[in-house]
């Protein structure tokens, strides 16, 4: 079997959020560490779309930055076996330099990475803009002249101009309207098949993920709790948190039905619960869950599932 394009091995990322040195000394406080990513292991296979989902504070954005090389893990290893990786960001407004023209924005990777001769750059930019559904004349304009959806297209063009094998997408459609989102998602799917791209797609929106992902990883408080092929995850979710997430998604099919939402909310990542971090909200938690952190075995990290305590009937 071919080696994975990207492998993440037991990666942990801590952030030092201690108060300034002087205040700490005066109050006798120790250092405070925020563990944004906690021992995550997974791999990204050639040609697939791997989605990572979770709510705020689950570490998915941090892991995106780790995967693309913007940040280094505090522990563990990330190995990239491809040539180049690029990233698409969430905010269409902050991801383009407002003082640069679009053609320069899109050309920057080509120039920096020296992927073409000076004379060819203009033609390449025009081709890329056409590929994402924009006109060549749009290169002369500034970002603020475009709508949110168009700006994301420019971001995609910029990422593609770097000729990447792996494209990490951090919530690329979260800031867009539904109809624009559909256009962008379709565009990304087309580009993937045409250019043989591999995507890592970060999102909090399970519905979006169900449309575009091959495999889905669910994260909670920095840990990977479940990782399964998309079809499986959505029809037979195993981890209690995954089930809770799926239950909580507002559904159009459920018009007018009463519902009982799950109680509780995501705890403060600075003080995660001991043992299994989900146990305060889990209907199946027992003594072991409170004490012992579950290992990620057989694509899920849950004592209840591993012991066979939780049934799969839906």
């Amino acid at each position: 079997m071919r080696a994975p394009l990207l492998s993440v091995e037991a990666v942990t990322r801590d952030f030092d959020v201690s108060r300034p040195w002087l205040e700490r000394v005066l109050e006798g406080e120790g250092r405070r560490l925020l563990r944004a990513v906690d021992g995550v292991t997974l791999e990204v296979r050639h040609g697939e779309t791997l989605a990572l989902v979770g709510e705020s504070g689950c570490g998915k954005s941090t892991i995106a930055r780790l995967m693309v090389g913007l940040d280094a893990p505090s522990d563990g290893r990330i190995e990239f076996h491809g040539q180049r990786r690029q990233m698409i960001f969430q905010s269409p407004y902050a991801s383009l330099n407002p003082r640069w023209r679009v053609r320069d924005i899109v050309a920057e990777p080509i120039r920096v990475l020296r992927l073409a001769r000076k004379a060819e750059v203009g033609a390449r930019v025009a081709r890329l803009l056409a590929q994402v559904g924009l006109a060549a004349e749009d290169g002369e304009k500034y970002p603020h002249e475009f709508s949110g959806g168009q700006r994301q297209r420019i971001s995609i063009a910029r990422a593609l101009s770097g000729e990447p094998d792996l494209l990490i997408c951090d919530e690329p459609t979260s800031a867009l309207d539904v109809s624009v989102q559909a256009q962008i998602l379709n565009l990304m799917a087309d580009l993937q098949s045409r250019l043989s791209l591999t995507y890592v797609f970060i999102s909090h929106n399970l519905a979006v993920v169900s449309q575009i992902a091959d495999r889905v990883g669910v994260m909670y408080l920095g840990r990977l709790v479940e990782l399964a092929p998309a079809g499986e995850l959505f029809s037979h979710p195993r981890h209690p948190y995954t089930r809770m997430l799926l239950e909580a998604v507002p559904r159009i099919e459920r018009t007018g039905e009463p519902r009982t939402p799950v109680a509780g909310e995501v705890p403060n990542p600075l003080a995660p619960p001991p043992g299994c971090s989900f146990h305060p909200r889990c209907p199946h938690a027992d003594e072991r869950c409170r004490r012992e952190r579950p290992e990620f075995v057989d694509a899920v990290a849950c004592h209840g599932v591993q012991e066979g305590r939780i049934s799969f009937a839906r």
Binding site: Q86, S95, P98, Y142
Partner: protein
Amino acid sequence: MTLACVGAALAAPWIAPQDPFNPAALDLNQAFRPPAWLEGGTARYFLGSDDQGRDVLSAILHGARISLGVGLAAVCFALALGVSLGLAAGYCGGWFDALVMRIADVQLSFPAILIALLIDGVARISLPAGAQDAIAVPVLIVAIGLSAWVQYARTVRGSTLVEKEKEYVQAARVIGRRPLAIMLVHVLPNVMGPVLVIGTIQIATAIITEATLSFLGVGLPPTRPSLGTLIRVGNDFLFSGEWWITVFPGVALVSVVLSVNLLGDWLRDALNPKLR
């Protein structure tokens, strides 16, 4: 309006009716002549003459030139120093940031005039006497500049900290650009805006600082007066009736400063791509 002022000041050596700095051209007999439209005035001394027979109009033109020159240069120097330090401090963070900010804090606890005085005084002592007059202007520029860089550094640092987190900077890092390139090419254009506006307002402050220093004797020598010096010197004659010696330089100073401020506003708007 700015163009008129600046233009006139620059052209001073050619259009002034009299070279006020050439002692030979002075005629003490013509001293204290009132402006042309009052009784006793002549067309030759259009705005009157001062105690040494210098034509006030010429003095204003030359003085404006010097004032503007010194003010502009000092601000440019402060800008260059402040912006680069602020940009680097904001972008790099860590110990460099802490160091620069502490120096800035320390300097802020001293009044600007004192700092300028200090630098100028040190320069005087350490340089040979003959070179002093020639060096006086550059030293003055450096002195005023060094006393003012801190505010630019702070403003730029604050803006840099904000811009640094924005995703277009992250994108540049993903592409693989070096930090220096990112700072200059991406961050700098986006943080310069407020700095330019502050800078143009600061030209006025610089001119006034320079006038104060000159009055105290550590700025420009009295043989090459600036607008500020003229105002100060002419002040003495205000109550003896020769009001024109101080009033006209004063009016000139106000209009120069006003037009420079307007220029700054226009400049900021012109450089904003969103308004094009």
